[in-house]
């Protein structure tokens, strides 16, 4: 920590003294480089942190620059007032460009944002207002009392301050709840929704952040060059920016900055051979995605991991689960009531007219052959599928058709048949995402009251450590889940679900792949969870576990309920034996991903 503070201080001093070492051309290069770094941080936030492919960053940059230029030259506004409006305009454009992200992701989003960026260049090249292909000249120089900003040396300090604040803010976002939710969304949007992350709002936030960074860079560009023209905001520059972020390492903001600075330097060295520079950086992008997907920023960890593999692995151990304190006896009433629920996929009737009530405080088992609709039921109840017909009522509230995150906020937590942990988040962060109940709308605090955000984060971390302690996972808190044994990953998923403090816990085949001892521990954990007042519905094929754990068992076959009763009653019903237990003598083939 002390080294880090020292390092940052040294970097700061070096940056402060830098202009004294440079001639007037070099300082210009450095100024432009800082703008690229600022743009790269914004792009990194959207692409690397939130996983939103954004090929319109250069358009946000352009909006910032052009609005400043138009307002100062055509309307005669002062530079700084124009600058504020320009950043706001960029933010508004960012929200508009982000709208498609609500409906599509990945390559679709890539092409739509790229198309919109082209639309922007097309507009500025043709518009009278934007000066057409010649652009706008004669932007007045920005004025600060007592500082002559026409000097590039002094302008450097303005840029430096803006950049430092923007980078620090970006890193602050990444490390606190907002950024954590974004990273969770990037790793697995479905699972993020299931733990209460407001995915649509977060996608918009990602574009908002990217566009504000772009707008800021645009304003500074207008102040620095005092001339704007369409070719600065071309697709070629967009790809250059993309290369900076990919080569630097998109998941690390510092990596993005390193990428931007190094690529800008290389480009400057090859300034007489721009096409060869283009060949070089294109090649490096290809090599990076194939051989080092985490970019320059990821190299230290990769090297360290390789070295560690040679040495002895220092693995911790899974500690015993510490039971929850017995909660008050549950109030009566049904926590979950599903009425006449149907779900059809084209011709396939996955659920037909299913009616099911689970009283508060019960452990309900759901069994049935593969493909009988059990997981579909979970997917409808937790909001991933919209039912074809029927209603889902939770604790008296009709939550049919609610979004997954709404349901999570209403007290439903679930685990997944095929484990959906956030792969690039540590075990602690996985739990933290679920613990965090802040709404995306309250993110205004990031702009105005950072101390509050920081305090909130510290409180969350304490709670997370308590949960990890309870589930015996303390030794693995800083591990990535993918590196852990399967049984421990299963337990992490249960811990994550419980971190959301649910009223209803849906467990989808929690014992799959566990050994005998782990199954016994699982039964103990589930009983304790129920003891704390949580209602549990569990899909399971391990009949021994179902018989000993569940208060009541519902049997599915072909999308319908064929039996319902205590484990002992159900196990002797002839149609159940035929439909399910008879089938279970057949060796089960591992299923493809069902969700």
């Amino acid at each position: 920590m002390r080294y880090r503070v020292g390092g940052i201080a040294l970097l700061g001093i070096a940056a402060w003294l830098l202009p004294y070492q440079l001639d007037s051309y070099a300082i210009h290069v450095v100024n432009v480089m800082l703008l690229y770094a600022l743009l790269a941080v914004g792009l990194g936030l959207a692409m690397g942190i939130a996983g939103q492919i954004n090929l319109a960053q250069v358009a946000f940059f352009g909006v910032g620059a052009y609005v400043t230029a138009i307002l100062t030259t055509k309307s005669g506004w002062g530079f700084w007032t124009a600058a504020v409006v320009a950043v706001l305009a960029a933010a508004a454009v960012g929200l508009l460009v982000g709208l498609p992200a609500l409906r599509m992701q990945s390559h679709y989003l890539g092409i739509v944002t790229l198309g919109l960026a082209l639309a922007f260049t097309n507009w500025v090249t043709n518009s009278q207002l934007a000066g057409g292909a010649e652009g706008i000249t004669g932007i007045p120089r920005p004025e600060l009392p007592g500082v002559d900003l026409s000097s590039e040396y002094l302008f450097y300090y303005v840029e430096l301050v803006v950049f430092a604040v923007a980078l620090a803010f970006g890193i602050f976002v990444v490390r606190t709840p907002l950024g954590r939710r974004m990273r969770a969304m990037r790793d697995d949007a479905l699972a993020a929704g299931a733990v209460g992350v407001e995915v649509p709002m977060l996608r918009m936030t990602a574009f908002l952040l990217a566009s504000v960074y772009g707008g800021l860079a645009g304003v500074l560009y207008a102040g620095l060059i005092r001339y704007v023209a369409p070719e600065t905001f071309s697709i070629a520059n967009m790809f250059l920016l993309l290369a900076m972020v990919i080569i630097g390492g998109r998941q690390s903001l510092v990596g993005c900055v390193v990428g931007a600075i190094s690529l800008a330097l290389v480009r400057e060295l090859l300034v007489d051979y721009p096409t060869y520079a283009q060949v070089a950086y294109g090649t490096v992008v290809v090599l990076t995605v194939v051989f080092a997907p985490t970019g320059l920023a990821g190299l230290p960890t990769r090297v360290a991991a390789r070295l560690r593999r040679r040495g002895a692995a220092t693995a911790g151990s899974l500690r015993p689960f510490q039971p929850y304190e017995e909660g008050p006896a549950p109030e009566g009433g049904d926590l979950l009531a599903v009425t006449a629920l149907s779900k059809h996929f084209r011709g396939v009737k996955a659920l037909q007219d299913v009616t099911l009530t689970v009283p508060t405080g019960q452990i309900r088992g759901i069994v049935g052959p593969n493909g009988s609709g059990k997981t579909t039921l979970f997917n409808v109840v937790s909001g991933f599928y919209k039912p074809t017909a029927g209603r889902v009522v939770i604790a008296g509230r009709d939550l049919t058709n609610a979004r997954p995150y709404r349901l999570a906020q209403a007290g439903i937590a679930r685990t997944f048949q095929n484990l959906r942990l956030f792969a690039a988040l540590t075990v602690r962060e996985n739990v933290l995402v679920a613990l965090d109940r802040t709404r995306t709308l309250s993110s205004w605090r990031y702009a105005l009251w950072q101390v509050g955000v920081w305090r909130h984060d510290r409180a969350l971390r304490q709670q997370a450590d308590a949960i990890l302690e309870r589930f015996g996972l303390t030794d693995f808190a800083d591990n990535l889940p993918g590196a852990l044994p399967y049984g421990i990953q299963r337990r992490v998923e249960v811990a994550r679900a419980m971190a959301a403090a649910p009223r209803l816990l849906l467990l989808d085949e929690p014992a799959a792949g566990l050994n005998g001892e782990e199954v016994r521990q699982l039964a103990e954990i589930v009983r304790s969870i129920r003891g704390a007042g949580v209602t549990v519905v569990v899909i399971e094929h391990n009949m021994g576990l179902v018989m000993s754990l569940c208060d009541r068992v519902t049997v599915f076959a072909n999308g319908r309920i064929i039996a319902d009763g205590t484990p002992a009653e159900v196990a002797v019903q002839p149609d159940v034996v035929e439909a399910y237990l008879g089938d279970s003598t057949v060796i089960e083939v591992p299923k493809e991903v069902t969700i």
Partner: protein
């Protein structure tokens, strides 16, 4: 009315080009889930090779096209081979990798042929036909005929040959295809080669219609990709319909909004795709993201 029909006819030939580009996108996408952002640049390379051999070497247009097809097919194989480790794994990284290839191809074109473009004269001389007062360029008819023939050959290949059936199988389930003894890597390489060949065909044909320049790849690629998405990504009929739709839309936008045609085109495209993200024919490989 006459103007409207004239615009429509004018849009069709470019639309056929977009359809060829879109088919290349779709074919590669559905066999290996790879979205090839370098596709537009492969089109551009194809256009340059065809025009170079046609203009400088003075070969017959058809022969120049064949050479262009072979060269781009090789480029396709190289791209597939380099990005193979990412196949069926990381969508976004693959996408960025192909953007990297696109950057390289564009720069190489500038190094070889220079940054300024060239105009290619039409290989089919003759005055435009006059049908009920509507002028139809003969070359447009050639473009439409070749595009239709290429589509027919592709569909026949996919449906009637063993290799084509194997590619369909890989598209549906690459693990199951491996299990029945299909060499998935080879099948993917062939898909990529055909995709690149379609790109060269589109490039060669578009030469006399547009100006051939290193920057043409970006626009053509984006419009072709938009066409593929509009029709329903991964669907061959969708690619054709989407291509023609974008061509006609482009032509109307150019007629009514002059310089702003791209702005209008992409805004309309964005709105359509937001209303119906799966396109006209839906996505064959359902993406459960």
């Amino acid at each position: 009315m006459q103007v409207t029909i004239q615009t429509f006819i004018g849009g069709l030939s470019l639309g056929a080009i977009y359809a060829l580009v879109a088919m290349g996108f779709s074919l590669v996408y559905r066999t290996m889930g790879l979205v090839n952002f370098a596709h537009g640049n492969v089109v551009m390379i194809g256009a340059y090779f065809a025009s170079t051999f046609y203009l400088s070497a003075e070969l017959p247009f058809a022969l120049a096209m064949v050479i262009a097809l072979v060269v781009t097919g090789l480029i396709g194989i190289v791209i597939e081979r380099v990005l193979r480790p990412l196949e069926n794994k990381d969508f976004d990284l693959m996408l960025i990798g192909t953007i990297g290839f696109g950057i390289v191809l564009e720069a190489l074109a500038i190094i070889i042929w220079g940054a300024t473009g060239r105009a290619v004269p039409s290989p089919v001389p003759g005055a435009p036909l006059d049908v009920f007062g509507i002028r139809i360029r003969t070359y447009d008819l050639v473009v439409l005929a070749i595009a239709a023939a290429a589509t027919a050959v592709l569909v026949l290949f996919l449906q009637r040959t063993k290799r084509g059936a194997a590619m369909q199988a890989v598209a549906m389930d690459h693990q199951a295809a491996t299990a029945v003894g299909i060499h998935v890597g080879r099948s993917n390489a062939i898909a990529f080669m055909i995709g690149a060949g379609l790109a060269a065909l589109a490039g060669g044909l578009v030469g006399p219609l547009l100006y051939v320049s290193p920057a043409m790849g970006g626009t053509l690629g984006i419009k072709g990709f938009a066409a593929a998405i509009l029709g329903g990504f991964g669907s061959i009929p969708g690619a054709i319909l989407g291509g023609l739709a974008i061509g006609v839309l482009d032509s109307y936008a150019a007629g009514h909004f002059q310089g702003y045609s791209e702005l209008v085109l992409f805004l309309v495209f964005t709105v359509i795709i937001m209303v119906r993200p799966t396109g006209i024919f839906g996505e064959r490989t359902v993406n459960r993201a």
